[in-house]
């Protein structure tokens, strides 16, 4: 069964800013209303139709798109964490506020319809209708910051790939510039950008791979630095969210070459902290760029890794495609067992 894909659902969804809503509302109110010659009480009917128009504009531009966003209770923890990393920590409040206001606004509209109907002359209807427009706009003005936040939510969610949560997922993690994107590029359908400087990957990228006809999702993450949680920036929090909520298997990649951006000690420190935080997860350590150093160096690095990590260690070269199938098959076996 196809799972819901948020980024596809949110395609084309746009929340306007306060100024856009204001312009649309005023335009709707000013445009003339065509009425048949035989209509009685034209002044009243005209204003009645105008406030209906204003109501429809506001409801369709602001409240209807908000309704399409995922229910806060059903949102996957991963999405919640991504939103928090993007600066929207009160997603739940935001959504419930807007859904509540939709009802309140509907009631307001109904109240003003009755009031317009009860007016005695066109001048009075005009006054009541204008009052409705004023109240609508001040409601929107108070919502201004929330609308901006909602736009941010949508753009954050839209950037994410379509992850099938029930299917096996392998997350590739490691320090910057160790070759995570090169690996994902080599083994899966994804084509992340690869470049010779650190911090190239800024988003979570998903690729599909098949091992012995079994699907596996390989997820590329931005490089993680070993520092306390409070000091992490948005990009690193995203990477950690992927490790935490998506990884059925964690592939930790190590760069053994002597002139790396981050020395081996730091890489091992990060491995140690990931190991302690995510102790329940299956983990594989992969020594990338194994062809770039001599055999003794690889042995030495592997021995160092063994001090920290008891599981399996693979040697690969993602660039040249050496040893990749062993890693993939092992991943498949581990996933088959769980």
């Amino acid at each position: 069964m196809e799972e819901r894909c948020l980024s596809k659902e949110l395609k084309g969804l746009r929340i306007p800013t306060y100024d856009e809503v204001r312009a649309a509302v005023l335009k709707a109110f000013q445009e003339p209303v065509p009425l048949a010659r035989g209509v009685k009480r034209k002044g009243m009917v005209k204003h009645l139709l105008k406030i209906d128009r204003v109501y429809r504009v506001v409801d369709s531009k602001v409240f209807a798109p908000a309704e399409k966003l995922p229910n806060p209770d059903e949102v996957n923890e991963f999405y919640a964490e991504i939103l928090a990393a993007g600066g929207v920590s009160d997603y739940k409040d935001l959504i419930w506020k807007l859904r509540g206001l939709r009802k309140a606004y509907r009631n307001l509209w109904r109240e003003y319809r009755i009031r317009v109907k009860n007016t005695l002359n066109p001048k009075e209807s005009n006054k009541v209708a204008r009052a409705f427009v004023g109240r609508s706009l001040s409601m929107m003005r108070r919502l201004g910051t929330d609308l901006r936040k909602l736009s941010a939510v949508i753009s954050e969610l839209r950037k994410l790939p379509c992850i099938e949560f029930s299917q096996p997922k392998a997350v590739v993690a490691g320090m910057p510039q160790v070759g995570k994107s090169t690996f994902v590029r080599a083994v899966s359908t994804a084509e992340p950008e690869v470049s010779p400087f650190p911090f190239t990957t800024k988003e979570i990228i998903l690729g599909h791979a098949y091992v012995d006809h079994q699907p596996i999702q390989v997820i590329d993450t931005p490089g993680i630095l070993d520092r306390p949680f409070a000091e992490l920036n948005e990009v690193e929090r995203k990477a950690l969210a992927a490790v935490r909520f998506l990884a059925d298997i964690l592939i930790y990649m190590v760069d053994p070459t002597p002139n790396t951006y981050y020395p081996l000690d730091q890489q091992l420190d990060l491995l140690r902290s990931l190991r302690s935080v995510f102790s329940g997860k299956e983990m594989i350590v992969v020594i990338n760029k194994a062809d770039a150093v001599n055999a003794e160096k690889v042995e030495e690095v592997e021995a160092r890794i063994r001090e920290v990590f008891g599981g399996e260690v693979f040697r690969i070269s993602a660039l040249k495609g050496v040893g990749l199938s062993d890693v993939m098959r092992r991943m498949r076996n581990l996933l088959g067992r769980s």
């Binding site: 910057p176 470049s195 010779p196 400087f197 650190p198 911090f199 630095l225 000091e231 920036n233 990009v235 690193e236 002139n259």
Partner: protein, 81 residues
């Protein structure tokens, strides 16, 4: 200095200044590894300006991350100036 692309500015610095003068120049660039998000690098030694990056010794900096070029603390080029 006249406005222009970062590459033109860097090339001009590189071609017009002798090595000892080159050392007075610094570039400020975006660096996610730093807590502040920015770091500075002093030019000098072997500097190469390629199509999309500069190479200073071992370090490679993509041009799209360079924000400023400074000479002795004074800004001589700034992105979007």
């Amino acid at each position: 200095m006249k406005e222009g692309t970062i590459r033109a500015a860097l090339s001009r610095v590189l071609w017009t200044s002798p090595p000892e003068e080159l050392r007075e120049y610094e570039v400020v660039f975006i660096d996610r590894g730093e807590p502040s998000g920015l770091s500075t690098l002093r030019l000098g030694g072997e500097v190469k300006v390629l199509r999309d990056r500069i190479v200073v010794g071992e370090k490679i900096i993509p041009l799209h991350r360079v924000l400023e070029i400074r000479r002795g603390g004074e800004v001589v080029w700034r992105r979007g100036a």
